[in-house]
């Protein structure tokens, strides 16, 4: 637990942590620091001052990790994931729940905005599901919006493997409503962070998290992103590392697709279904498996309504106007389609599910 204690030192950064881990066995390094020794150069006097009274931190960390089932791995260990061991900015210490072997699978990152559109979320979910069906692990940040929907897609498949990189300590669930998904990832794969237990989701930690996410992905798919935002940071980190970045095309009118459309213009490969991603991974697309459509077929009357809301989200009024049926009937048919899983509604806007 000395590695954990080194990560949890006050004023710690990933640069300093890498220097400390490079000095030698974490146990010795921590003992030396606790004894007041300056084990390496290039660290501020102010920081050494802050590290004077850290004795016992290793025991605190051991207890916290134990309580929440958190394991620790440092870059000197054999178990440290080989996929990022050569990364120049790799975190020297990783905290994780679950099984690191998930990182030995083929990995595709699915990222996107937190304020995603309905169709964006649905696409993420379908892609997550289809990747899981083809034995590819899905890497995401478990944030609201695209991230969590991609993960839910993985969960739709019994055998899907998931990798999530989060920004805060593993005992601090953020966003709080995703608690179930956190446990789920730990069960199906691995939940990773470089932040020691108890770390709050501070703003500056998210871009740092994004670099790990980018480093762990072999292919990074951006489903929806505004022109600026966390997803674009991940994209930059991925490009630095020569990770293939792919983007899902969106309407030029939709602000949530500004970022992805810009990526496509810059030459990123488009993704419209799972085959595109499999080809980028060098897997054969011919034998790809897709989720079978288990939905009950719509009746002819329902098909008319379904067609009216296929291209974009529409209101009941628009459906009534375009196909000329009474409001009463439109409500009834939309309800039936919703129950069968063909359409979805948010705040009065109806959209067909692909």
């Amino acid at each position: 637990m000395s590695a954990a204690a080194l990560a949890a030192l006050p004023l710690q950064t990933h640069h300093r942590l890498r220097k400390l881990i490079a000095c030698g066995d974490p146990v010795d390094v921590f003992r030396a620091i606790a004894a007041g020794q300056r084990v390496t150069g290039g660290i501020d006097e102010r920081v050494w001052h802050a590290w004077r009274n850290v004795a016992g931190l290793d025991e605190v960390m051991a207890r916290r990790c134990g309580e929440h089932g958190i394991s620790v791995v440092c870059s000197r260990d054999d178990e440290y994931p080989t996929s990022i061991v050569h990364d120049r900015e790799a975190p020297a210490v990783l905290f994780y729940r679950g099984d690191l072997s998930a990182l030995r699978r083929r990995r595709v990152g699915i990222i996107g905005t937190r304020t995603a559109s309905l169709s964006g979320c649905n696409f993420a979910r379908t892609l997550g599901r289809d990747l899981a069906l083809n034995d590819v692990a899905v890497v995401s940040g478990l944030a609201r919006g695209i991230d969590v929907h991609a993960h839910r897609g993985v969960c739709d498949v019994g055998t899907g493997a998931a990798v999530a990189v989060v920004a805060c300590g593993l005992d601090v669930v953020y966003p709080p409503e995703h608690e179930l998904e956190w446990d789920d990832v730990a069960r199906r794969g691995v939940l990773l962070t470089e932040a020691p237990p108890g770390t709050a989701p501070e703003t500056h930690r998210f871009p740092l998290r994004n670099r790990i996410l980018a480093a762990l992905s072999e292919v990074l798919v951006v489903v929806e992103s505004r022109a600026r935002g966390g997803s674009m940071i991940t994209v930059r980190e991925a490009m630095k590392r020569d990770v293939t970045v792919m983007a899902v095309p969106g309407s030029p009118h939709a602000p949530v697709s500004d970022g992805t459309n810009a990526l496509l213009k810059d030459g990123c490969e488009p993704v419209t279904d799972v085959d595109d991603v499999l080809v980028a991974l060098g897997l054969s697309s011919g034998s790809s498996r897709r989720g079978a459509d288990m939905r009950e077929a719509p009746t002819p009357a329902e098909r008319g309504v379904l067609a009216a809301c296929t291209t974009r989200a529409v209101t009941v009024d628009e459906i009534v106007m375009t196909i000329g049926i009474p409001v009463f009937e439109a409500g009834v048919l939309l309800g039936r389609l919703e129950l069968k899983g063909w359409v979805q509604q948010v705040n009065g806007w109806w959209e067909a599910l692909t």
């Binding site: 937190r114 304020t115 559109s117 309905l118 609201r144 939709a254 602000p255 949530v256 989200a313 209101t315 009941v316 009024d317 628009e318 009534v320 106007m321 409001v327 009463f328 439109a330 409500g331 009834v332 939309l334 309800g335 039936r336 129950l339 509604q345 948010v346 705040n347 009065g348 806007w349």
Partner: protein, 496 residues
């Protein structure tokens, strides 16, 4: 020496008869009023004295005691002024006691002896225990709503004396009905598009269901709400009487003959709780009582004080407001149809996709509606701005009159069946009044399993489905499509 004159006093929206006793006796000159008068009532002393002097009477420089005997409650307001002045004149011997035995007097006096209008003339005259009620001439049409030709209008105290002491006839009060409000509510045909919302309004009007409209500014939320009275069934005699009583008690201009259009009240979101719910001292009816038998429209519902919205829950449940005081409880009628309107989020952008709010902002905005209040809305609909192109080419919508006909037919079916609109069916009576077909049951079952419906939502859907069935003809049993249509009117407020 002694006189007794009938009058009445106002408690909330109901009058209570009182007897004004006046005694003039020996002792130190003085004038006191006993019998729990409130502040305004105690000021009667000065008004009555000035009014008598201005009307050509001497002020008796003896000990004058006035007792307001009634139901033991506090007597409020200046409505007993006239009765006190008449009482003093009788006790002085200027008027015979016998001349007032069949009369009650209600009205405030000015210092010059003229009679002024006060609020509550209708309920006051209604409750007075006498053959005829003497009221200020300006309010006589208001009194006539309650007591018809038994109301006598007079303009001054001098006139009253001339009749009671001089044997002159009562002044002619005229018979022309008095009307101050236009009786034509705005028409639904003015609303372009919004067919879904109009249908929801029709269902709400038929079943007296409360409606919540969520939509961006410019979607036509308040336009639709203002047109609700035009599609609601006309008020019956008893209902319009109640409404007139409340208007009178609140001091609003009277309409005689009473309007049969249900009232529409739209308090601003900065209104205080007391002005909306009722209260104060003396207790005055608030906006929700003025909306009795009609529509209460809360625009920008999220902007109202949370305590105010919570205070609406009890009246919504019980159809009346109870204002509790140390000395007892005043009950005000408040059976209204609540229409709430709100933006979907603080940025109020039209489409889900162009919204710039973070999920937290939206969540915080919608959290202002407390769950228990949201539960009262049987119908919740989302509105979008109508397409501009549609506004130019669209034919005018269906007129209110046509919708009102269907609404009335549906409402009579409901009243015939259970004696009340469908929104008031108690949960345990749903099985009797709104039985479901097996297919309808299956749909509800599926929705419950999916988590689309909660237990409370389940009852709401069944009531609304009952109304839809009533609107669509004579259905003894609620069918599948009625339930499906009712479910379509339950938009969730999501913070997604």
């Amino acid at each position: 020496m002694y006189a007794a004159v009938s009058s009445s006093t106002l408690h909330g929206v109901f009058g209570a008869p009182i007897t004004v006793e006046v005694h003039i006796g020996h002792g130190l000159p003085g004038f006191s009023i006993v019998g729990q008068p409130d502040e305004a009532c105690r000021e009667s002393r000065d008004r009555v004295r000035a009014a008598l002097l201005c009307s050509g009477h001497e002020w008796p420089n003896r000990r004058i005691t006035v007792n307001l005997s009634g139901d033991g409650e506090k007597k409020g307001g200046a409505t007993a002024d006239l009765a006190i002045a008449v009482g003093v004149l009788i006790a002085e011997g200027k008027i015979e006691q016998g001349a007032v035995d069949h009369l009650a007097f209600v009205g405030e006096l000015g210092l010059d002896g003229s009679l002024r209008a006060t609020s509550g003339i209708a309920p006051l005259s209604y409750s007075a225990r006498a053959e005829s009620v003497v009221v200020p001439m300006v309010s006589v049409h208001e009194a006539r709503i309650a007591v018809g030709d038994r109301a006598i209008g007079v303009s001054t105290l001098r006139q009253v004396c001339a009749v009671l002491a001089g044997g002159e006839p009562w002044p002619d009060t005229g018979i022309a009905p008095h009307r101050v409000l236009a009786d034509v509510p705005p028409d639904m045909a003015d609303v372009m598009g919004q067919e879904n919302a109009k249908f929801a309004m029709e269902v709400a009007a038929a079943g007296f269901h409360h409606v919540l409209m969520v939509g961006p500014p410019g979607a036509g939320k308040s336009m639709l709400a203002h047109r609700m009275p035009g599609i609601l069934p006309r008020l019956g005699t008893a209902e319009s009487f109640e409404t007139s009583m409340v208007r009178s008690a609140a001091g609003l201009p009277a309409v005689n003959p009473p309007s049969l259009v249900p009232p529409f009240r739209a308090p601003h979101h900065t209104s205080t709780t007391v002005s909306v719910v009722g209260g104060g001292s003396p207790v005055r009816p608030g906006e929700i009582s003025l909306a009795h038998n009609g529509v209460l429209f809360l625009d920008e519902m999220g902007e109202f004080a949370p305590s105010l919205l919570d205070a609406l829950r009890q009246p919504l449940e019980e159809g009346e407001v109870r204002v509790a005081r140390a000395r007892g409880c005043v009950t005000l009628p408040a059976r209204f149809l609540l229409i709430g309107a709100s933006n979907p989020c603080p940025c109020a952008n039209e489409m889900v996709t162009s919204c710039t709010c973070t999920p937290q902002m939206r969540h915080r905005y919608l959290r202002r509606f407390s769950g228990p209040l949201l539960d009262r809305f049987d119908i919740r609909i989302n509105l979008a701005r109508p397409a501009l192109s549609g506004m130019v080419t669209a034919e005018p919508g269906e007129p209110s009159a046509a919708i009102a006909d269907r609404v009335s037919a549906a409402r009579s079916r409901a009243v015939e069946r259970q004696g009340a609109p469908n929104a008031m069916i108690a949960p345990h009576l749903l099985e009797r009044h709104a039985p479901l077909t097996q297919a309808a049951r299956d749909v509800i079952e599926a929705r419950l399993t999916r988590g689309d419906l909660t237990a409370r939502g389940y009852h709401r859907v069944r009531r609304v489905a009952r109304t839809i069935a009533d609107l669509r003809g004579d259905h003894a049993v609620v069918e599948q499509e009625h339930v499906e249509s009712a479910i379509a009117m339950r938009a969730e407020l999501t913070g997604r």
